[in-house]
Symmetry: C2
Subunit: 233 residues, 2 copies
DNA sequence: ACAAAAGTGTTGAGAGTACACCCATGC
DNA sequence: GCATGGGTGTACTCTCAACACTTTTGT
């Protein structure tokens, strides 16, 4: 804390509450969705909201975000990034609440729902058909989507939405769904392989109907955030 | 705030304190510098720190950052952007403090020091020769510098470090100082003009020794954050 | 006329984009 | 053998990078 004997110093009851909210993205049925929870208490009772909660005195912000993610999805080590901090005075009608928003990319197959532990209901919503959201959460989701698209254009983190092993066609479809545009197959493959973040496993997938596809996975020796030129389109 | 009847709810004394810190950049003597204040109270008494203070109950985070900026520099409408939120448990040895860091670009000529109003001393430090900083402020400054460089590579906000009117050579020097590399004069001019964020004023500068230079200023009809391809180098 | 800084075009290399056909398997 | 999706190469365009001389002013 940077301040001195001067200026405004808040009393304990003037301190804002601090929460973390996590925008959790996943691909379900080849569709980009976010996980929402239904509120059971006022304000906004019955409305959908992104998962979040208070930061505990003994945990860092990243830890709080990871804890929230684990509580809602059962998933522990997935791509998570701080998004933005929202602190408008009246964003919560009850009292001053500042929230540090995160976003996470979760492979859908990894998720184990924790039914009814805390929440009355959690559900995945397509970004095209979001319900009305509590607080300023619509703004937060919009911002997260913008950032996700930007991330995918300039880096190679798209595979974080997929299972551990995946085919190039699955990866391309993930990019197409998130970016909302079709990509050329040959150019996509050339670029994603040139980024040197994924490699063949040697195995092949027998999922598809036609010719079997090679399976790829993440190379953990090099980082996916290679921001050189624009990767896509 | 997203939470319900469940889980952890902090009592008032478990709430973290919330501050904003502002990394203020300016060009002084063709050198990129940050404004630091000398702490007069423990902890880190006598050490330098970036300006900051508590968020008041009735002001937004952006307002708090703008207020801090005005208190330290007298400047009101300059380029300001939220940087990152730092919230490690022990970043302040006294108590839990979460800080939302901002960075600002200030034209040096616009600054009026507010001597001794609050601080014992404020001073501009070259980024190459920073003193030891209080708290985790070195990390914050490093991160701000990284972001500033990234911003300048992909957008055309460099002129925010300059007076209202400036020559292309001055602008190029600003980019060179921040990015730490020399740029080609012809390529620089072509690119910065292609971005269509600045235009000729019609006036000429008689500052330089040789041939007089055209003065340019910001076109407020188009936004400087045109992220197309990489602008520089 | 000379010093000092402003201003201005062209060329070659590399990256990006568009585009169509053969391949391996299951049924 | 045919339907289905997997896998591959090339030509054109355009952007990026490298590079040196002329112009305008003050002294």
């Amino acid at each position: 804390m940077p301040t001195e004997s001067k200026g405004f110093v808040p009393t304990e009851d003037q301190r804002p509450a601090v929460t973390v909210d996590v925008v959790i993205f996943s691909l379900v049925e080849n569709d980009l969705r976010v996980l929402l929870v239904k509120r059971r208490t006022p304000p906004f009772e019955g409305m959908w909201a992104i998962p979040g909660g208070f930061v505990r005195p003994d945990e860092s912000l990243e830890t709080a975000a990871a804890r929230k993610l684990a509580e809602e999805t059962g998933v522990t080590s997935v791509y998570t990034e701080q998004l933005y901090t929202f602190g408008d005075v009246s964003r919560d009608p009850r009292s001053r609440v500042i929230t540090i928003a995160y976003f996470a990319l979760v492979p859908h197959e990894a998720i184990q729902h924790q039914p009814g532990r805390y929440e009355s209901a959690t559900s995945w919503f397509s970004l095209a058909k979001l319900p009305p959201l509590a607080f300023d959460h619509e703004k937060i989701v919009d911002y997260a989507l913008q950032r996700l698209r930007y991330k995918l254009e300039y880096t190679a983190v798209g595979f974080r939405l997929l299972p551990h092993e995946f085919t190039l066609t699955e990866l391309q479809q993930a990019y197409e769904v998130v970016l909302g545009e079709e990509l050329d197959k040959r150019n996509f493959r050339r670029k994603i392989l040139a980024a040197e973040v994924i490699e063949e496993t040697g195995k092949i997938s027998r999922e598809s109907e036609g010719r079997p596809a090679k399976l790829y996975h993440y190379r953990d020796d090099s980082n996916p955030e290679v921001k050189t030129r624009r990767l896509f389109p």
